[in-house]
């Protein structure tokens, strides 16, 4: 009971700190994100994650999809904007996402390929050229 409250208090304390820093405009970043970074630093400095804090996180993140519903319902007030700007919105959402996936996967694949081939180089010095030629 008490350790659980302690974990909750921990999360809320960093959220409050994040909101304060965000409002003070020292860093123009949303409060919860500052809270996330502060909590990460806090756990890293402690060097271990308490079981209760892990449980609080797992429970809360399990229902993350549900927590977006109240905000999402607000879209009914913007349906006229959505239909007026349907083309740019759909283009950015669908086209933008497809291009992002293409670019990210391409970059990541090249890096992972290079890492794999340099590992092959480390493991077997002389045979790399043969492997490359085969590929």
């Amino acid at each position: 009971m008490v350790p659980m409250l302690c974990a909750l208090a921990n999360v809320m304390a960093w959220l409050c700190a994040g909101e304060i820093l965000s409002r003070l405009n020292i860093v123009p970043v949303p409060g919860p994100v500052i809270g996330l970074i502060l909590l990460y630093c806090h756990i890293s400095l402690e060097g271990k994650l308490s079981e209760e804090l892990g449980a609080v996180s797992d429970r809360l993140l399990q229902f993350l999809g549900m927590l977006f519903v109240p905000a999402g319902v607000g879209v009914v007030g913007h349906l006229d904007r959505m239909s007026a700007e349907a083309l740019p919105i759909a283009g950015a959402v669908i086209g933008g996402t497809a291009v992002t996936i293409l670019a990210t996967a391409f970059a990541a694949d090249r890096i992972s390929g290079r890492a794999a081939s340099s590992r092959a180089k480390l493991e077997s010095n002389g045979q790399v050229e043969v492997q490359d030629a085969a590929a």
Binding site: V11, W14, G18, E19, V27, P28, V29, P30, G31, P32, V33, G35, L36, I37, Y40, I43, L49, L53, V56, S57, L60, L61, L64, G65, M66, L67, F68, V69, P70, A71, G72, V73, G74, V75, V76, G77, H78, R81, E85, L87, P88, I89, G91, A92, V93, G95, G96, T97, A98, V99, T100, I101, L102, T104, F106, A108, D109, S112, A115, A116
Partner: protein, 239 residues
Amino acid sequence: MPRLDPTGWLTLAQHPAMAVGLTVIAFFLAIRIQRLGRGSVLLNPTLVAITITAACLHALGITYETYMKGAGFMHFLLGPAVVVLAIPLYRQTPLIISSGRLLGASLAIGLPVGIITAVGIAWALGATSETILTLAPKGATSGISIGVSEKIGGIPVLTAVLVICTGVSGAIVGPPIMRALGVTDHRVFGVTMGISAHGQGIAEAFKVSEVAGAFAGLGMALNGVLTAMVIPISMTLIR
């Protein structure tokens, strides 16, 4: 039969029990509906729950403002939910270190391309500046992007829905694009899905493997945190 007078009805509609209750039941039904639809990404539970809730409010003649007085509590929980994203990130710290180059390269490309394509395509197709600002943080997970949208002058509620649409479209187009590119590395698949399609991308990645899922989680969390810093900071620099 006893009847509620109009003011009684209004106070009841504002009560958290009604608003939160409606939202939770709508989400429960949405999960059931997705199961009936064999887990189709198009039947995203959040989008379905939004539709059910909005339809109920419309049928009952309750305004969004009235509903939000009760459901505000649930919306508030997004704050702590974003803070606790630190925990999965902390658990995966060894993975961040061992795959630093892969994650770094993916983020160095995925993050700017995500923002620039969203803003650029919307601008080129004639979107208003408010809509462009609403779309800019679409690559970050909803909890974060709503905050960014608020911070830079977008429409947070619209961002919330468009972020989910981004996730859904990413989950649909991502796997065929990566097949076409010949991606075989599960880490690459995961990190790409996490960076471009956040929550829904993670779900797709877990269908491939545990490794892909873990990298998707990392991609989403790191992309979210960095987007929350990059967009507002570059906005203040431009102004």
